[in-house]
Amino acid sequence: MKISTLLLSVALLGTMTVAQADIKKGQKAYLKQCKKCHGNGTKGAAMKTQDEWAAAFANDNAGFKAWHKGTKGEKYANGKKLKKYAPHLKDFLYEYGSNSGNVPSCG
C-alpha cells in the first residue's frame, strides 16, 4: 500500500513537472511564430501589461484569438500549435510585460 502510494506520488510529480510552463520555451515559440509580425521579444512582450497578457490567455486564449481576428495570425491563434504552447507563451509574455520591469535576453 505504501509503495503504491509512493509510486503514485512520483508519477503525479512527474506529470506536474511536464505540465509546468517554461519561459524559455515560450520565448522560442514567440521567436518562431510571432517575431515576424511583432518584432523581437523585447518589443513583443512590451506591447501589453502583465494583467493584459494574463487576461488574453484566459478562457482558452479568447483574448489572444480576438486580437488576431482578421489578421495574418488568425490561423495560428486558432490552431493546435497555440493550444500546445499557450502556457509557455503566456509565461514568457507575462514575465516580460510592459510593466514587469524585465527585459528578455536575446538567444
Binding site: N40, N102, V103, P104, S105
Partner: protein, 131 residues
C-alpha cells in the same frame, strides 16, 4: 543669440552625461583594484534588441549614470571579442556580471535586462555585497 548659446550649453551638458565605460576587462580590473571599486560587466552584442533597450532606456537615466559612475567600474564588452576570463564568457545577451574589486562575483549574474526601477536596486544590492 543668448537662447542659442544656452541651448548649445544644455545640449553639450546632456551629451557629456554618460556612463564611463571601459572596453577592456584588464584595464577595468586594474582600475577596480586601485580604487577598490566593484565592477559591473555589460556583456552585449551588435543587433541585440534587449541590449539596445538597456542602452536607450536604462543607461541614459541620470540616476543610473550617476550611481554607476560614482560607485562602479562599468565595463562594456562584446561577447564575440573581449578579454574577460573564461568563466565570465556567455552566449546570450545582455548579461550583467557584478564583481567585487578582486574579480570575484558579488551577486548572481543577471541574464536579460531590467527597467530602471529594478536595475537600480540591483546595483545597490551589488554595491552592498561588494564590501
Amino acid at each position: 543669440m543668448k537662447k542659442i548659446l544656452l541651448l548649445l550649453f544644455v545640449t553639450l551638458s546632456l551629451s557629456a552625461a554618460d556612463v564611463n565605460w571601459f572596453h577592456s576587462y584588464a584595464k577595468a580590473s586594474e582600475t577596480a583594484k586601485t580604487n577598490n571599486k566593484p565592477m559591473m560587466l555589460f556583456m552585449n552584442k551588435p543587433g541585440c534588441g534587449a541590449c539596445q533597450y538597456m542602452k536607450d532606456n536604462v543607461f541614459t537615466n541620470a540616476q543610473v549614470i550617476d550611481y554607476l559612475n560614482k560607485n562602479f567600474v562599468a565595463v562594456y564588452l562584446d561577447i564575440h571579442k573581449n578579454d574577460a576570463p573564461k568563466d565570465l564568457q556567455v552566449n546570450v545577451t545582455p548579461v550583467f556580471h557584478f564583481l567585487k574589486s578582486d574579480g570575484s562575483k558579488s551577486i548572481e549574474t543577471l541574464m536579460g535586462g531590467k527597467g530602471v526601477k529594478k536595475f537600480l536596486p540591483m546595483l545597490q544590492k551589488a554595491l552592498a555585497a561588494s564590501h
